[in-house]
Symmetry: C2
Subunit: 350 residues, 2 copies
């Protein structure tokens, strides 16, 4: 189950309401969504892949992925991940009630498909055998302050090798804490990739998010109509699955993984991913005709060459109809720009 | 005599070979050329204004200024200011041999037209009465390192109030010297505005630049044809009038002026002119939709809003088909960009 509901605000101006981040070819030569579908197919087969998205993106996603319409679930409005996962679980339950579901964000970058598939299968076997919510936890490779962490507990038991209980989830740490986590071990990055049986996740939603359960209950057991989904979403509260369920549940395990993963969450993380370092620039698209300092990221237009003079550590993003020049280390603030533009009704460029 | 032969490389990418700086509306609401013609008319009248330019700009200059074709002198190739001034002096001499000629760069900004006109007339009276080369010298208001300086000597005499002998011309100074010049006085900015009789400048060219004199001599005394000018330019050496004549002549005076003047020579000087300071940005054109730091200069496109995040002291120049992001205090380096692009045959964007 691929969650493609994000707004992708942090990749403005390349990403927009109309073209959110999963559609962008930021790295690896194809869109993040295409790559995610390919990874999912490797584990779930051609007929096991589903997508949840907003109504404005459904047609484009069907075209891009070739998925049949029935497996592109459309949320009538954005209600964060808990509602999307509840809708997805109920929809699949009607077809295959014993299924195990993996939840994959549509906009992450995981180049090692084979290792990913092997670990996801292992997590799925555990989720099929035990009533637990399994999260993949990525071994940290740097003291990252942009991710949440999973504090690892005891091993899950001999019959589940490689799986551990989760002691707690930790908010994005400050730099000192992040360094400590990395040094001491026992902490993993929370990649937002979850695996569970439908039975378990629906029971845990019922227990920890009863309002959401109540709102979604009318959808249970039959193929939902657009009207019934709309009604359910009118009542559904808006929670992330992390705070609504995972942080409250006592049945959460993690499967540590060590392959390369990034959520490509900001221009800075993309720059890092592409190998921008002091003195070395990278170009996603467009043409950099002059760059005397380096250390910059250019996302340009082929038709508009760019010259950078005396600057370093910048993201220069020419989206054709809007332009961003940002310090890479401030690129979290891109959300503020989108917020300000939306507040001023600038739907032309958001 | 307005010299409009410059390449305007330092305003790349807004200025180009095809659209050099005089055509740009950088400040004051109209093009620098239009404003220069208006200033010149104030002193020389409708029929006293001439322009020297390259063949690629002649038609546009005629259209923009409304000058008759005969008063737009076309240089067949660029040969720096000494040749342009020699051509101009010979051409006017054929019509009005007793004339006094003021040489005005086409791309400077002088908002106080009235004060400018009064001082130019005063300089012209001196140049008509004495066999001297008069340069206007601007009273420095800051320790500028981007201009050449004039070292002021003795007063020119009672019959020429306000005029002084020039002791020497000084190359662009370093910061310490520029501060000393400003503190001690006795130094003026060399604004490149000259006034002299045709007789005097032609005699001084003959004395100090005999090769140029020889190359241009065939043009003397008759209306030159395109072919004769082409031949003359084939032999003409390429010198700035400053080094070829003014720095060698013993008959150079200066008229100190205290009105506001800038050669708008770089993005930095334009930013200064427009009032960019720490925390305060300025927009020449286009739309700045976000700017959390300030202190930036935007030269944009109306159709492409720009957001600046975490950056200050930058020039962001979106010329439609090319983009520059430069530190304002490094904007002298824009020439390097143009040089590099020309070396790579990129006439599409130079």
């Amino acid at each position: 189950m691929i969650l493609a509901g994000g707004a992708g605000e942090r990749f403005w101006p390349a990403s927009r309401s109309a073209v959110p981040k999963p559609f962008l070819r930021v790295v690896g030569g194809r869109s993040l969504l295409d790559a995610t579908v390919a990874r999912a197919r490797r584990v779930a087969g051609r007929d096991g892949v589903w997508v949840v998205c907003g109504p404005e993106h459904a047609a484009r996603i069907r075209r891009a992925t070739g998925l049949p319409a029935a497996r592109v679930l459309v949320e009538p409005r954005r209600r964060d991940t808990a509602a999307a996962i509840a809708l997805a679980a109920l929809r699949v339950e009607a077809v295959e009630p014993e299924a195990v579901m993996a939840v994959l964000p549509a906009d992450h970058y995981i180049p090692d498909v084979r290792a990913f598939a092997a670990d996801l299968r292992r997590a799925a076997r555990a989720a099929a055998a035990a009533p637990v919510l399994v999260t993949l936890g990525v071994e940290p490779t740097r003291p990252e302050t942009g991710y949440g962490y999973i504090r690892v507990g005891e091993p899950a038991g001999e019959e589940h090798p490689g799986l551990f209980r989760v002691r707690s989830f930790v908010e994005k740490p400050d730099a000192a804490r992040a360094r400590r986590y990395l040094r001491n071990g026992g902490y993993l990055w929370n990649a937002g990739i979850f695996v569970w049986s439908l039975r378990t996740i629906l029971a845990e939603i019922e227990r920890h998010a009863p309002d959401l359960h109540a709102a979604m209950a009318p959808l249970r057991g039959r193929r939902p109509t657009a009207a019934s989904v709309r009604r359910a979403y009118q009542n559904a509260p808006s929670f992330p699955i992390d705070t609504a369920v995972l942080e409250r549940s006592r049945h959460v395990w993690t499967h540590p993984v060590s392959w390369h993963w990034t959520d490509v969450g900001t221009w800075e993380s993309l720059a890092q991913e592409l190998g921008v370092t002091a003195g070395r620039s990278r170009v996603v698209d467009g043409e950099l005709v002059f760059d005397d300092r380096g250390g910059n990221l250019l996302w340009g237009q082929p038709s508009r060459p760019v010259a950078l003079l005396g600057v370093e550590g910048l993201a220069v993003v020419d989206a054709g109809d809007a332009l961003l020049v940002a310090r890479l280390d401030r690129s979290n603030g891109v959300r503020e720009i989108v917020k300000a533009l939306k507040a001023r009704g600038r739907s032309d460029v958001t």
